[in-house]
């Protein structure tokens, strides 16, 4: 839940229907979220901003490939 109390801070604009929201230093340094920013990616994408998402997502797909390969390999054991 959120209570409101306005103080001037650094802000960013994410859409024309959303008033400016606080700027995040962590997001600029690797903690940006690809899904949240999906529609803004063509303008804002940088490896530095989405580092954690990109690395983890790619490693995740590597695990998918490994599991699929493992499943296939198991079905070939003992086949003549």
């Amino acid at each position: 839940m959120i209570e409101e109390k306005n103080i001037a801070i650094e802000t960013q604009t994410i859409s024309n229907v959303v008033p400016p929201i606080p700027q995040s230093k962590m997001e600029e340094n690797g903690h940006g979220l690809l899904i949240i920013d999906l529609l803004r990616l063509p303008k804002f994408f940088s490896y530095r901003r989405y580092r954690l998402d990109i690395i983890g997502f790619l490693i995740g797909w590597l695990w998918v490939v490994i599991l699929l390969a493992l499943g296939y390999w198991i079905t070939t054991i003992g086949a003549s």
């Binding site: 839940m1 109390k5 802000t11 959303v18 995740g60």
Partner: protein, 493 residues
């Protein structure tokens, strides 16, 4: 006469006593409703992995995959591997859940769209929890009754009492801390039958010599799991994953965003690995079980346990099944009571009361949900039917969640139109006799189209509502002072 020896019974009793004492030990740490529902968001990486593995791995999944694979071969694996391509997305989604700082998914619908959608989601989720618990209890009861020759009703009431004791007494803290032990039992359950089965059929070469080569294919020639329905189940699995009601706790109760990411993603990868064991067990069942045993394919798992395992290990398998039931049902029961207490009772029935009162209500609701799930168990035809039914309906609620997260212009009217339109399309397609793949494709296309079109045709949500929601989305955990400086104080409820 029971098929259980004294050794089997000793293994089960040691397990039950041990896990109950262990769980009750952690009840001392539950002092408020936040601790009961979200474990005070203090879980580290390993506990988050264990929680994701155990709440996401249910005995009815094993029973369903083993049964399907015994009939259609390795392709039966897709009844659970439909989520394998979604799993990398868990890495991207878990920080979103954590950043919302919400306790339940109904909070999401209320904060992003409207109160009415929050209330709708609460009832939808309660239905899902009752459906899941009913499926688990039913599947496990049938299997263990088959193994032990004991009356099914004994098991139903016994195991229900056990997970109610766990969940009601200890909340999420007790459940998650015992998940480590349950996780080990789940892995045991997944692979215990394989060595005994392979020995009985003459190893892998024996399997290949005696089975049709088609049984080793991951794509079934039968309509049930051919390429198109599998593809649609995979897509709907990804769409619906955000709307599964327990995922707010599974993905959002970690200490940090990284513990949430690792927990949800890798807990589920371990589950995908276990699924290979279930499918292989199904192939073994095809050779070893007679047509009498396979009259109902969902009895294959229990029949195989009874036929293959020596004394002592049968008890261990029964304990493993009990472990998955307790872990899953206790987690669902807690998530369901959180939904009712916080999103319905606290908001619409009794707005001011001390925390002890809400904690008490949460515990009462937990028990009530369990009774509902016992009744549900009586109406279920099969475990697989319940699984497919779930994957479909949850996807229809997942569509507005995805659209609402990605697109600030999405409105509550668009979300309502999407849910009603996709559900109606699905009902029409099903009654017209369309196959599962066609039902899902048409319903999801209508759902996404209506979410976008109706949102464009209606006024955007109030600017302050959108500002609050997207400010949370763009504020990583640990940077809450940013919100406070902007006049948006976020408290983890």
């Amino acid at each position: 006469m029971s098929a259980l020896s004294m050794l089997d019974l000793a293994v089960i009793v040691v397990y039950l006593v041990g896990i109950t004492v262990f769980g009750l030990y952690f009840t001392r740490k539950v002092k408020n409703s936040e601790g009961f529902f979200m474990g005070n968001r203090r879980f580290g990486k390993s506990l988050m992995v264990a929680q994701a593995l155990t709440t996401g791995t249910r005995v009815d999944f094993a029973i369903g995959v083993v049964g399907a694979s015994s009939e259609i071969g390795m392709a039966g694996i897709w009844y659970q591997w439909m989520y394998i391509f979604s799993t990398p997305f868990y890495w991207l989604l878990s920080p979103i859940f954590r950043r919302t700082r919400y306790t339940t998914t109904a909070d999401f619908f209320e904060e992003r769209f409207s109160k009415s959608l929050g209330v709708f989601y609460s009832f939808f989720a309660l239905y899902l929890f009752i459906l899941w618990q009913g499926t688990i209890i039913k599947g496990a009861a049938r299997t263990i009754a088959g193994i032990t020759n004991l009356p099914e009703s004994w098991f139903i009431w016994g195991v229900t009492a056990l997970f109610v004791l766990f969940g009601v007494a200890g909340g999420l803290v007790a459940t998650v801390n015992t998940d480590f032990i349950q996780g080990i039992f789940i892995i045991i359950l997944s692979f215990l039958l394989i060595p005994f089965g392979l020995q009985a059929v003459g190893g892998f070469s024996g399997l290949h010599a005696k089975l049709d080569p088609q049984m080793f294919s991951f794509i079934s020639q039968r309509d049930e799991l051919s390429l198109f329905p599998v593809t649609m189940l995979v897509i709907s699995g990804l769409v619906g994953i955000v709307a599964q009601p327990h995922h707010m706790a599974v993905a959002g109760s970690g200490k940090t965003e990284m513990s949430c990411r690792i927990g949800w993603c890798y807990g589920n990868f371990i589950k995908r690995f276990c699924t290979i064991g279930w499918a292989l067990t199904g192939l073994i069942a095809t050779l070893l079980l007679t047509k009498e045993n396979l009259k109902d394919r969902e009895l294959a798992f229990g029949a195989l346990v009874k036929q293959l395992l020596p004394k002592g290990l049968i008890g261990l398998m029964v304990a493993a099944i009990l472990a998955t039931v307790i872990a899953s049902c206790a987690a669902y029961m807690i998530a369901g009571s959180a939904l009712f207490t916080r999103n319905l009772y606290k908001k619409y029935l009794k707005q001011t009361a001390d925390d002890a009162h809400y904690l008490f209500v949460g515990r009462i609701v937990s028990a009530a949900l369990t009774i509902g799930s016992l009744l549900m168990a009586l109406y279920l035809h099969s475990v697989i039917d319940a699984t497919v039914h779930f994957v479909m309906i949850v996807a229809f609620v997942g569509i507005p969640m995805w659209v609402g997260i990605i697109w600030p212009r999405a409105t509550a009217a668009g979300a309502w139109a999407s849910i009603i339109g996709s559900t109606s399309t699905w009902l029409i397609a099903r009654n017209a006799g369309w196959q599962v793949g066609g039902q899902l494709l048409s319903a999801m296309l209508v759902g996404f189209a209506l979410a976008i079109i109706v949102s464009f045709l209606t006024r955007p949500e109030p600017a302050e509502r959108l500002r609050r929601f997207f400010a949370l989305m763009h504020t990583p955990v640990g940077e809450e002072e940013n919100l406070e400086r902007a006049g948006l104080k976020a408290t983890l409820e």
